[in-house]
């Protein structure tokens, strides 16, 4: 079967009445679950698996794909409104989304996120369709040294994520990196810094750190400011209006980050989180007014939202073309495939073209559904911010608690959440930025593992990092990206 024919079959499957219905159900349920505390795409897909049992494979998978990107989008809502990122891919969204919502522009922020997601999603699906088979080789081109280079490049963002003192940003990052070394080391099985406590064996969960440093710490600030109403214009909270000026601002980041996000998403293990951070930093570096970033910049919100959705489609490349699940989420999705009797792998496209292309076609549809369903809901969702401060504070605390509890089911993690909440609050007071902490926490683990895997493979020879052209390029880029801002700083002072 030629691929044109396959694509046609796929579109027929997806655009049938049944297909459209299940995409809608999937997107709706996914968005909704994604908005719930602590539940990201992984849980959304896991809880939907039993429901697909016995369904026709293509319809079941089309629905699951809907659940997947619905949940990714739903996750950004809590980042923007409550500064409570539910999944790592939306941490960068909160950097500018939350300040924007605090300025009384919650509706606008959510609308920008929806449009950016839509664009990132749609562009990347086109890329996926044209290049999925060809990209299979890209997906496996990254060995451990190349991953090391990529993580290093991501880490150089620390300097640009600081507000003021670079020293403090670096300290914040080092402590974040230290936090991720807690747990059983995958390479040796050695327990590190666990104090023999079984709760720490698998390390501290990302969500505990993110909700602690961001949401709970923010609660502290809200408590102090609970009497004064910082929201200048309450009535416009739900307004979706985006000015021409703002649309113009969005255009650049959207067109660039759709591509960057997609290609990073293709790499197994890299995915939406790294795409969103790299997207954010890249836009900040080339922006004319980088000082606006972190204070509610349109570009700063558009970049990570475009990138993380583009990466979501990108992640389907290794899954569909090679059967490699590149992340926890796609691993669960792989499980969903198996339940439906579909084995994703190199032969899927040849043997079950209707499923392969059906999923891809359903993504077009899903992106449209996502936009159409969510835009009208935004005015209502953003009214959450009109809830009186004292009540909102109590609800945010509860939201964070249940979020952490729903993934670990242990009160130990809840105590850790409070601990990181207090730490995050103190960091604010003493002007230590939190983003470098969380960035180092996310990237540090992979950086260390790929570093040690590489050296294990090379029997301790450091040349392995310079021998592969990909890692060499990435390392050079990292060095430049780290030194450049410092030089700029020097110049300014002189």
């Amino acid at each position: 079967m030629g691929s044109i024919e396959g694509i046609m079959t796929g579109f027929q499957t997806a655009f049938s009445l049944e297909g459209i219905m299940f995409v809608m159900i999937g997107v709706l349920v996914g968005t909704f679950i994604g908005m719930l505390p602590g539940l990201g795409p992984i849980s959304a897909i896991a809880v939907m698996i039993p429901i697909t049992f016995g369904m026709d494979p293509s319809t079941g998978l089309i629905m699951m794909a809907g659940v997947y990107y619905g949940a990714v989008f739903g996750g950004s809502t809590s980042s923007i409104l409550l500064n409570a990122p539910g999944i790592s891919g939306t941490v960068a969204t909160s950097f500018d989304g939350y300040p924007m919502a605090q300025q009384g522009k919650a509706g606008k922020a959510l609308a920008i996120a929806a449009i950016a997601s839509f664009t990132g999603g749609t562009v990347s699906v086109v890329l996926l369709m044209i290049m999925a088979p060809a990209l299979a080789s890209v997906a496996i081109s990254f060995g451990p040294p190349a991953y090391f280079g990529l993580m290093l490049l991501g880490l150089t963002a620390i300097a640009s994520l600081s507000e003021g003192s670079t020293t403090k940003a670096l300290i914040s990052a080092v402590v974040g990196f230290m936090a991720v070394t807690i747990g059983i080391d995958p390479q040796t099985g050695t327990q590190r810094f666990t104090f023999g406590n079984a709760n720490l064996f698998e390390g501290i969960d990302f969500l505990v750190i993110a909700l602690g440093l961001f949401a709970i710490a923010e609660v502290g600030k809200l408590i102090i400011a609970r009497h004064d109403d910082s929201l200048s214009d309450k009535r416009n909270v739900g307004s979706l209006k985006i000015t021409k000026e703002e649309l113009k601002d969005m255009r650049g980041p959207m067109s660039r980050q759709s591509f960057v996000g997609f290609f990073l998403g293709v790499l197994p293990g890299a995915g939406a989180t790294i795409a969103s951070f790299i997207g954010y930093i890249m836009e900040k570096k080339i922006a004319k007014k980088p000082e606006e970033f972190g204070k509610g910049s349109v570009k700063g919100l558009t970049a990570p939202e475009t990138a993380n959705n583009a990466a979501t489609s990108g992640a389907f490349v290794p899954l569909l073309s090679l059967g490699i699940p590149g992340s926890g989420t796609t691993a669960v999705l792989l499980g969903a495939f198996l339940v439906l009797g579909v084995q994703p792998g190199p032969l899927l496209m040849v043997e079950r073209p209707e499923i392969f292309w059906g999923i891809i076609a359903s993504m077009y549809l899903g992106n449209i559904v996502l936009l159409v369903l969510n835009l009208p809901l935004i005015p209502y969702i953003s009214k959450i911010l009109n809830i009186p401060r004292p009540l909102l504070i109590a609800l945010v605390i509860m939201f964070s608690m249940i979020g952490v509890y729903a993934i670990s089911f242990s009160t130990f993690d809840l105590y850790m959440l409070v601990l990181f909440g207090v730490l995050g609050f103190l960091m604010r007071l003493f002007a230590f930025p939190a983003p470098p902490f969380i960035l180092a926490f996310i990237l540090g683990g992979m950086l260390e593992q790929s570093f040690r895997q590489s050296l294990s493979i090379s029997n301790g020879n450091f040349m392995i990092f310079l021998e592969s052209p990909i890692s060499l390029t990435l390392i050079i880029l990292s060095v430049l990206s780290f030194i450049f801002p410092l030089l700029k700083l020097r110049k300014k002072k002189a």
Partner: protein
């Protein structure tokens, strides 16, 4: 005063780094690998030592706004501590009394304590919200939350 603030933090960080390094140097060795589990942590520990020393000596670049953040009235500090206490109590009671009961009590008393005076709305919200969430999680999503003393 401010110079000493940086110095105080620097000393705390040095203590943290020292503690971390001591643990790192006591990690058991694993013989079958080129790079053992302690290499990266050692690097991190020493890096933190270095950065704390830098922090000790650099001139403070804090802006007036950042300094202002630390000016918290004593009354608010007590409020913060009280809320922290409530959260800890919430966690402690969660698996004993169950999700619905503790959450309802927490939402009600926490928002009341923070100055929300509409009792009826507060009571309705603090009961409806946990019940709806509980039902959603346990019935629809099949994720168990602590049931506690309530019969469902």
């Amino acid at each position: 005063m401010l110079r000493t603030m940086n110095r105080k933090i620097s000393l705390i960080l040095l203590a943290l780094a020292a503690f971390y390094l001591v643990m790192t140097y006591n990690l058991p060795a694993y013989t079958y690998t080129e790079i053992d589990a302690d290499m990266v942590p050692k690097g991190l520990g020493w890096l933190l030592v270095f950065l704390s020393i830098v922090l000790f000596f650099i001139k403070d670049s804090e802006t007036e706004e950042q300094r202002e953040r630390r000016n918290i009235p004593k009354k608010e500090i007590i409020t913060l501590l009280a809320v922290t206490g409530m959260i800890l109590l919430y966690i402690f009671l969660l698996e004993i009394l169950g999700f619905v009961a503790v959450t309802a009590l927490f939402v009600f008393f926490c928002s009341w304590f923070l100055g929300y005076k509409k009792f009826i709305t507060n009571a309705i919200v603090s009961i409806v919200f946990p019940v709806v969430l509980y039902m959603l999680f346990t019935q629809f999503l099949r994720i168990e939350l602590p049931q506690g003393i309530l019969p469902f």
